[in-house]
Amino acid sequence: MPSPGREEFLGKVLHQIRFPFDRASIRSELSDHISERVDHYLELGYDQEDAEQAAVSDMGDPTQIGIELNKEHSPLLGWLWKASGLLLGTVIVLNVLFVVPLIGMSLFSHYTANTIESEIVYEVSVDETVRLDDRVIHFSKVIFDTGGNLHIFYQHYDVRFRSGWSFGNIGTITDNLGNTYRGGGKGEDGGLLRRGHRVVSGFSPEANMLFVKYDHYNRKYEVTVPLPVGDGRE
């Protein structure tokens, strides 16, 4: 059991420590050090009480020790360490809740994989990339099915990887025969890299050129896709 002298010494030292979260470790460290000194004096033949007294006396002025230790355990640095640790923990939790699911959706989404129910008449690989502000849009594939539907597949992402409004309106769909197609379905998955799919119903099987024209709020782009006709169809 610690002697009253040891307790008094430790109390005086800890009184100088202004960062409270360090007091327990300082106390433990100093107490261990005193215990080592006590063992040393016991080996020299001192009795327990004298050994405690000598050991504490060897430690020096408790107030001065406390002042020096307080400099090493800077309260400012200590609170910064505690606060930054707490904030970091909070931000990690927020990232796990919000960021990880979005990355997961981008990596594992198969939104467009099984959305064509009719037989495919032709499929055209497209490699057209356009940009709107911070959004990069890549048109990847066009499929025409036996139901008369033209499927336009695209992906888009924000160059700053910021989330934002979805991109439902890829533009006006026309063909080389002068037809303009309105309506039809569309869809888009979530995540940082989003996959989109626009379905144009009643698309002319005779058209050999597809145009996607975007013209809104002083932003414009146009994507032209040659389509296979006649014997050119696979």
Partner: protein
């Protein structure tokens, strides 16, 4: 690793992870940043903001971009953050009408906004479905904004709009704006 290095490491990780979180979550630390990002993400603007008005859920940014007028709401979230409200894109106004306007709502918070083309109009007034009249004499580079809140029991729409000159003469009137 000593405490100084731990603090430096924590601060560095905080900056990186906070940036990642704010980017991906759609939250912003400033309402103006939320407004600007909302417009850019919608591929609209940047509009010239002529007035910012507080409402219960956040702020309204009244602005003009080329031939469009917008009133973009940004909403407060979790005390410190701001996020997009409804669509920030504006409507194309008709400069031939003495007064042209549009309206929108966010969770029961309604707004009617527009432009006064007839310079003699100095006061804009609307009447809601329940007979309540709201008016404003504040014009911000010829744009105006009127706001109201529906009750839980009743959706309140504006049923008429009028524009008056300095003497109180009726210059413009239109029924059932919605």
């Amino acid at each position: 690793m000593n405490r100084r290095k731990r603090v430096a490491r924590n601060i560095l990780l905080l900056v990186v992870l906070s940036y990642l979180f704010l980017n991906v979550s759609g939250l912003h630390v400033s309402p103006t940043w939320a407004h600007e990002h909302s417009e850019r993400s919608m591929h609209y603007g940047p509009s010239k903001v002529v007035h910012i008005e507080n409402f219960n859920a956040g702020k309204l940014f009244l602005g003009k971009y080329d031939k469009w007028i917008s009133c973009n709401p940004v909403l407060r979230m979790w005390l410190f953050f701001w996020r997009f409200g409804s669509s920030p894109a504006g409507y194309e106004y008709d400069s031939n009408k003495p007064l042209d306007y549009s309206w929108a709502s966010d969770s029961g918070h309604y707004r009617l906004y527009g432009i006064v083309n007839d310079k003699s109009i100095e006061r804009v007034e609307i009447t809601l479905d329940d007979g309540t009249m709201i008016s404003t004499m504040e014009l911000y580079e010829h744009l105006f904004l009127l706001t109201w809140k529906s009750t839980e029991e009743q959706e309140l729409y504006a049923k008429s709009i009028r524009g008056y000159d300095a003497e109180g003469n009726l210059v413009f009137e239109e029924d059932q704006p919605h």
